[in-house]
């Protein structure tokens, strides 16, 4: 039983700014449905005595000290930008109020 609809796929694709053709959407309806079905299967297990795993790594508290290290030269920082003016990365005009 697939819980995923075509609308779900389109919504998630929209959030990820992906353009999908119909074949890809149909494939993803199936694949994402399979993943959720697998989750349902896991949910059948009794995990009441199992500590929740919050992170894939066992490590905790990996920090850096508050020390300033050299930054990139600006030319290098801007080097990969499609458009820059030597100071700023240039992007299509950002409309006031578009921020989330």
């Amino acid at each position: 039983m697939s819980k995923i609809t075509k609308q779900d796929v389109e919504y998630v694709a929209g959030l990820a700014q992906l353009r999908l053709d119909d074949a890809a959407k149909e494939r993803l309806v199936r694949e994402m449905g399979d993943i959720l079905a697998y989750m349902d299967q896991l949910n059948e297990l009794d995990t009441s005595n199992v500590e929740p795993m919050m992170h894939a790594m066992e490590m905790t508290n990996v920090f850096r000290q508050d020390v300033v290290e050299p930054s990139l030269p600006r030319e290098e920082a801007l080097m990969n930008a499609p458009v820059h003016d030597g100071e700023y990365f240039i992007v299509p005009r950002i409309l006031e109020g578009d921020a989330s």
């Binding site: 930054s71 600006r74 920082a77 801007l78 700023y88 992007v91 299509p92």
Partner: protein, 479 residues
């Protein structure tokens, strides 16, 4: 219908660590565009962020000062959205396990104390800054701000008016400055406030539909924006309309809020645990170390200084507004000045000089010892209050010592009884008509006669002594 407002605040504070939160780039605000950047804060693929321990320490300090529970175990998450100010298309933040939770702060409104609940305070990274000054259909992006340590502090919907919101921000800013974790400069964006605002009929439990106001660059702007929104909601409801849940920006020039265009899906952030950063475990010992390192906080200092120096609630409040002022005051008193008089000279004369010069008390050329000496000279009657004002202005300007200025300007007050009496007799002889008026009951003339004597002494007569001697002389001559 009577309405009441329900307001919750979200405040973003840039923490003053030397380096960024996940990389070693400098946190210097004023650097040339895109000079404090590296692959991590530019969002290059394949880089590994590492958390700055200073950010954890300072965030825990804020949490403790706000009476929060510090999470023994917390983690960082990715908040996903697309925007040109965020190169990697997610912001590292904290979602369901914030570092600090369930605290409170007391605020003062119209002499009443009110407790505002703090829902949470969590670690995140700042985004890049956009400039719109670039011509045409383009914007420039500066990544110096990207990755600066940001603490987001969220209140419960406990605030009921614009005034309370302002009091909350004032108290929070004071606390942050006492902790020395941020310069809290709203104009420069190191403290940013957003308000969630709704109204409901008085007595109704259920919240009304809220709007969120952003883009406010000053405390007074927050006050005005909230007042505007509350009035707008009430008017809308009273005219049969409905409040639409939306984000609005504050237009300071026009004094109104305007809707911001947002995609419907903009708030679906699809948080998930940040796989590149491991969980933060703050054990009891670590928490205790930070607790012990906390300075005396505003409320404690206010009440201690009020009691210790016999200050009124108002005076104690003004003097402890900033730690620097409170420290300065305590040094003046420690140097031997009368506590009450020191408070007056600090709050009135010195403060007005500082405001006029737009100067911080830390840079003030009048040392606490000099102010204490000045207060002492006035108390002993060596100079009068009016001279004191000239002296403090001169000290403020030149940084010279009190006694040097008094000596140089020949400001010493005349306290020689005989000298003043001689002048009084002369003045009375010169003004027989006024003396007659005084005798016939016109008390006001006394002030005129005092003025004449003061003028004759070029303002140097000790006023209390002059008053005494003049009365005595007038009644002596009458008999």
């Amino acid at each position: 219908m009577e309405f009441e407002a329900v307001v919750g605040m979200e405040v973003h504070v840039e923490i003053n660590s030397k380096s960024k939160v996940f990389c070693g780039c400098s946190g210097n605000f004023h650097a040339a565009p895109n000079t404090n950047v590296c692959p991590v804060c530019l969002g290059m693929p394949g880089v590994l962020p590492v958390l700055n321990v200073d950010m954890v320490n300072k965030s825990v300090a804020v949490g403790l000062a706000l009476n929060c529970t510090i999470s023994r175990w917390s983690k960082l998450d990715r908040k996903n959205y697309f925007y040109p100010d965020m190169a990697k298309n997610y912001q590292i933040s904290q979602y369901d396990l914030p570092l600090c939770q369930n605290g409170w702060i007391d605020i003062e409104v119209d002499g009443q104390t009110k407790r505002i609940g703090i829902t949470r305070a969590h670690i995140e990274e700042d985004t890049a800054r956009n400039t719109h000054t670039i011509g045409g259909n383009q914007s420039g992006v500066d990544f110096n701000r990207s990755g600066l340590p940001l603490l987001e502090i969220v209140t419960e919907p406990d605030i009921r008016s614009a005034k309370e919101a302002l009091a909350y921000l004032t108290a929070l800013k004071q606390m942050l400055q006492y902790l020395d974790v941020s310069d809290c400069n709203m104009e420069e964006g190191s403290l940013r406030a957003e308000a969630n605002i709704s109204v409901r009929p008085v007595g109704q439990e259920k919240f009304g539909t809220k709007t969120e106001v952003k883009n406010v660059a000053s405390f007074s702007g927050v006050h005005k924006a909230i007042e505007f929104e509350i009035a707008r909601h009430i008017k809308l409801i009273n005219s049969g309309g409905k409040v639409v849940q939306e984000t609005r920006g504050w237009d300071a020039d026009r004094g109104i809020t305007v809707p911001q265009r947002l995609k419907e899906s903009a708030h679906d952030y699809r948080y998930f645990p940040e796989p590149d950063l491991v969980p933060i475990v703050v054990d009891e010992a670590w928490e205790q170390r930070i607790r012990e390192s906390l300075p005396e906080l505003p409320a404690a200092r206010r009440s201690r200084m009020g009691t210790q120096y016999g200050l009124s609630a108002y005076d104690a409040n003004v003097i402890t507004l900033s730690q620097d002022t409170a420290n300065y005051y305590e040094q003046v008193v420690a140097a031997g000045a009368d506590a009450k008089k020191a408070a007056n000279w600090l709050m009135v004369e010195l403060q007005s000089l500082l405001s006029a010069a737009k100067q911080d008390i830390r840079d003030c050329r009048v040392s606490p010892a000099d102010l204490a000496a000045l207060v002492g000279l006035i108390e002993s009657g060596a100079i009068n209050g009016k001279m004191g004002k000239d002296v403090i202005a001169e000290m403020f300007e030149t940084g010279k010592a009190t006694q040097d200025i008094v000596n140089e300007q020949g400001l010493s007050q005349i306290t020689d009884t005989g000298e003043i009496e001689a002048i009084i007799r002369q003045v009375l002889a010169d003004n027989p008509a006024q003396v007659e008026q005084f005798r016939s009951g016109k008390d006001k003339v006394f002030g005129f006669l005092v003025g004449q004597v003061m003028r004759a002494t070029q303002g140097k007569a000790n006023p209390a002594l002059l008053n005494d001697l003049l009365r005595r002389e007038l009644s002596r001559q009458e008999n």
